[in-house]
Amino acid sequence: MSTAAETPKPLTKKDLTADHPTWCPGCGDFAVLASFFKVLEKLQIPHEKICTIAGIGCSSRFPYFVNGHGVHFIHGRALPFATGVSLSRPDLHVFAFGGDGDGYSIGGNHLDHAARKNVNLTYIVMDNFVYGLTKKQTSPTSPKGFKSKTDPTGAIDQPINPMKKLVYGGASFVARTHATQVKHMMEVFERAILHPGFSVVEVLSECVIFYPGAFDDGNPRKGGTFDLIEEKKWDHSAEDAERHDVSDENAAYRLASLQYPGKFGVFYETDRPTKNQLEQIGIDAARERTGNATAVDLLSSRFASMK
């Protein structure tokens, strides 16, 4: 152990707190931010190694409220930006934040590809079923019949199912939680952060202005039920046969097909090589083949081959 003087002082919630959030009072995102702080405090990630990245939207203001290296990028492209950071900087802890419009609509294609590539980062989606920053338009998760400024008589398009999309896409950790259930939210955040690979947590986070009460059905204090997924304990008991195997993709789809509000917890988790690891294998092999040559040597031999 190093001496006390050399030991960095522990990272606290106070250190991580930046600007006061511009979210509306009562917004579900406040609880997401508070839970994120608490998990970072618990995991003691070095302060300078924390990197938060977001696109555009209410929840995408997240990086301004975390005192850490951060990026407020453009609408829908947080994941490819975060992919660039993750792949080139293995020393960092990369977090992406966003909402349903940013992640499932304009950035929907990037989600599939970050998932299939299994890029090592954690993505937290604050899903409120509505466009809040632009003041109430239909979102890709708005249920049929939801009345918005772009669908005054009610939404007619079938909403996407984020859990199915994530499992299908190939995300190696897929969980769902509720912004009013802070203890559960912290548990899944921690598991997501510790998971090596592309981990996604979908948080039902209420927009109290444009879609109040959207998630009451999942909130016991509002008369709903917060129904948790029971994961297999592999104890050979009779009850265990009924429990969820997180590595079973079909079981994850079945959970995702449940009637709203459905279940909460880890839908899917698998150990698959990350793109980061696979690329590094290629880089190491290439460096070895060159005998760790310098750039001048590599270019000199390349030019020689073209004479």
């Binding site: 190694k49 290296h69 950071v85 460096r287 001048v296 000199s300």
Partner: protein, 605 residues
């Protein structure tokens, strides 16, 4: 290079040697066939041979945009002096099919020689002033290979013929063939050599009536590098310190990303094929934000998709090298033809006020140097730097001297130094300096890089005064770079009737046009700009010395009669004598086209 006395171009001379062998100073050889015949391969081998023989070389090829098959040509211009263009007309035509003959016989100069495959070309025009030499290329190749290889190997047979006809150094050619095919299985190399030997031994001497020999080059004895523009660009990026990049495939950009994908891991870096153009530029900016010199690229349509993120790069002041290998547009347009119609897109093609650095290489060697410069500028000015190359440069092969690598190679350095209390990424009075993630901030306050307008510390601000000042700051830093640029070198007369202004891949033909015009007694000159935005200061002093300023571009004259660069020059200098020479036929400028268009303005003597 005229073997007979019918040459109409006095600058290309030949001298019958004592032995009765006709010495050529330069020769333009066009191979016309189908894309699967491997004519690019032999064209490339000839170009390489020229580089090894210290000759000048330039190539030109057309490739069909179909997946497989379709007419294709490869033209090689070999010379012992300075070769500036791929040649207006060919001296020798190798026609593999009837359609090749029909389409390209007009490109053969008067008195030229057409070698055609009698197995495929049934009808030749007897009334032309060309020497027709019929050779059963296909059946002779099949015979040489034992009749089992169908029509494969015709290209090597033709290479054998060329080696024989021009008395090229057979040993060197065989060495290049072995290198090209030696990596594959033994049968491939054996068949290649059988076809080559058959072509080399074919009794062609009597048919030609005259013997030819290319003069040795007068250049340095050092072997030159021969490669195409896209490869030179890749090497320039590597030399400039690029270690990370991302892109999406599109012709003719793809060969850059394919090479970077293979090369970068050798340097400890990585190139990612992204799911789309938007993801590609976002990933590249992720690399840049992480503290690396990064690259993305595409062709016109792909660049359109990247534009939102590129405006972010201007606002957040992130360094990025952005390459556009231009092709014919708009939309899918002419994917395998050359055009220079993305200049306005590079300079203005985005939302908001986005002053950008835009560069254009003039030839293949310059693709290397301009890539190095782009890396340096991106780092120094912390902004996106565009490089406008084009389809012609992408695929054209030229010979050039190897760059002094120890002088140009820049090893990247990831700066994660601790930043003090006074950290200010966007100072009003200095260069932009980001703290890459991983840097400790001693004040305990960490930066957020944003696309919102922000103050010197990077804090978002909608304050009108701040937006005004920061817009000025982003503009002034680009102007400051412009002030460092030297005035372009004038080639030709210091004053006179016409100044030709060019940019990009037209450098060679324009220069050769100036030479021809001056030989015919016209006082003309040209300048070629590599820095298009900002352009160097002081051009007005050069313009003032000429009666006409003619801007040669491969784009349309637009609604008001001026090409894209001419429009910018007129906007900057308000000089009515700046006029345009434009065209959009998807082909390179021929020297005689430029001469004729200039003469149309200044009059013929």
């Amino acid at each position: 290079m005229s073997p007979s006395a019918t040459s109409d171009s006095p600058d290309r001379t030949s001298s019958p040697a004592a032995s009765g062998v006709t010495e050529l100073q330069n020769a333009v050889i066009r191979f016309a066939g189908n894309s699967q015949d491997g004519i690019q391969t032999i064209g490339g081998l000839l170009a390489k041979l020229a580089g090894r023989s210290s000759r000048e070389v330039m190539t030109y090829m057309t490739i069909p945009s179909t997946i497989s098959g379709g007419p294709s040509i490869f033209q090689v211009h070999l010379g012992s002096g300075e070769v500036l263009s791929a040649g207006d007309e060919s001296d020798f035509l190798f026609a593999f099919y009837q359609h090749s003959y029909d389409s390209h016989i007009a490109s053969l100069r008067r008195g030229g020689i057409c070698v055609y495959d009698t197995d495929h070309v049934q009808e030749v025009k007897g009334d032309l002033d060309v020497l027709h030499v019929g050779i059963p290329i296909t059946s002779a190749t099949v015979e040489a290979l034992g009749g089992s290889s169908r029509e494969r190997g015709k290209n090597l047979f033709a290479l054998g013929l060329v080696t024989q006809i021009f008395k090229l150094d057979k040993e060197k050619v065989v060495g290049l063939v072995s290198k090209q095919f030696g990596g594959k299985n033994e049968d491939v190399l054996r068949n290649a050599m059988l076809a080559f030997d058959a072509g080399f031994a074919y009794p062609v001497g009597d048919l030609l009536k005259v013997e030819y020999e290319l003069q040795q080059g007068r250049g340095s004895a050092v072997d030159k590098v021969t490669t195409d523009g896209n490869t030179a660009m890749v090497l320039g990026l590597l030399a400039g310190g690029v270690r990370y990049g991302a892109a999406y495939p599109i012709t003719p950009w793809s060969t850059i990303m394919e090479q970077l994908r293979v090369e970068l891991p050798k340097y400890g870096g990585l190139f990612v094929q992204a799911e789309d153009e938007l993801a590609a530029v976002a990933m590249a900016l992720g690399f840049a934000y992480s503290g690396h010199v990064a690259v993305t690229g595409s062709s016109g349509p792909g660049l359109s998709l990247k534009m939102e993120a590129l405006s972010y790069a201007t606002m957040a002041e992130l360094p990025l090298v952005v390459i556009n290998v231009q092709r014919g547009g708009p939309s899918t347009g002419l994917p395998t033809s050359v055009e220079q119609s993305d200049l306005m897109q590079a300079i203005y093609g985005s939302h908001g006020d986005c002053p950008r650095i835009v560069l254009a290489p003039k030839n293949v060697a310059d693709c290397f140097y301009i890539a190095v410069e782009a890396c340096e500028l991106a780092k120094t000015y912390s902004c996106p730097v565009f490089v406008l190359t084009d389809m012609a440069l992408a695929s054209r092969i030229e010979a050039f001297e190897q760059p002094d690598l120890s002088a140009v190679v820049c090893d990247p350095f990831l700066d994660l130094s601790t930043r003090g209390e006074d950290f200010k990424p966007y100072p009003l009075d200095g260069f932009t300096r980001h703290a890459a993630p991983g840097s400790v901030m001693t004040a305990g306050k960490y930066p957020v890089v944003t696309g919102l307008e922000h103050d010197e510390w990077g804090h978002p601000s909608a304050n009108p005064g701040i937006h005004q000042r920061m817009t000025e700051r982003r503009r002034e830093k680009i102007k400051a770079f412009g002030a460092t640029l030297p005035k372009p070198e004038i080639y030709g007369d210091e004053s006179g009737e016409a100044l030709i202004v060019g940019w990009g891949s037209t450098w060679g033909p324009i220069r050769e046009a100036v030479e021809r015009l001056r030989e015919s007694g016209r006082p003309v000159a040209c300048i070629h700009l590599r820095h298009l935005n900002p352009m160097p200061n002081g051009l007005e002093a050069i313009f003032a010395r000429f009666q006409h300023v003619l801007v040669v571009e491969m784009n349309d004259e637009g609604l008001y009669g001026y090409g894209q660069f001419a429009t910018l020059l007129r906007a900057r200098y308000c000089d009515p004598k700046i006029r345009s020479i434009c065209k959009t036929d998807g082909l390179n400028y021929r020297v005689r086209d430029i001469v004729a268009r200039v003469e149309a303005v200044i009059g013929t003597v």
